[in-house]
Symmetry: C2
Subunit: 116 residues, 2 copies
DNA sequence: ACAATACTTGCATCGTGACGCAACCGTGCA
DNA sequence: TGCACGGTTGCGTCACGATGCAAGTATTGT
């Protein structure tokens, strides 16, 4: 199969490789925010998150909104406070399903770490 | 634990969230190239890959080099031809280990799809 | 009603990255 | 040695995104 033919052929991996999700994780500040929230293990307000960052609070607000749009975080409003939390289930699921979809195309003979 | 404390605390997830890898997958053209190579299941030359893309061959060459630097692809030279192939094992491993590291911080009560 | 809090949005600036073209390098062949 | 082929690299252009500041919005408390 030539690459040209492969590009036309539809596989599970096509739907999993969403540039928007990866772009969201492709920025140092956003990665720091996500790591912070992941390790925190609970939801946090914009102000709380901004205390871990060197950038302006308005920038943090925009980053959080972007991460939520990308499906990595979710938000909950409580009065004038907005809480953001990691979508652990969705995020881990996406990563594992992508790994599975990629592996499915891996020709025999190439180790992928799994024995399926 | 406040987000500020969480940011200072070191967890496995810190080393796994590499912005460079995600940035590499955060571009539509590069994602198309990776999807093409993944589905192809074999190595392909720069010219072959360029036949699946709408952009100039020089652009494809740069994208392939970037993806190789990010650890997603690897290259092999054969005469004047350069073959690129997906690092299936490394890529899937990275994705799964990241999922594991994130899940490790997930508080009990939040479903992550796994039962560990 | 007024003020304070918590966050969002408009706007200007600046850097980075994607792209195409052209020139260049390395290899193989006549 | 000359030439064709396969890739890479330099350079200019252009668009987008990250940032900070200031202004605006929504909600709470006095």
């Amino acid at each position: 199969m030539t690459p040209r033919e492969a590009a036309a052929c539809c596989r599970p991996v096509d739907g999993m490789l969403d540039p928007a999700m990866f772009r969201a994780l492709g920025d140092a500040t956003r990665v720091a925010i996500v790591a912070c929230l992941v390790k925190c293990g609970r939801e946090a307000s914009v102000t709380e998150v901004a205390e871990c960052c060197l950038v302006d609070l308005s920038v943090v607000s925009r980053h959080l909104a972007l991460l939520a749009r990308a499906g990595i975080l979710e938000s909950r409003r409580e009065g004038r406070t907005v809480h953001y939390r990691v979508r652990y289930g969705h995020l881990c699921d996406q990563l594992r399903r992508l790994a599975d979809a990629i592996e499915q195309c891996c020709p025999p003979g190439e180790a992928t770490g799994a024995s399926s």
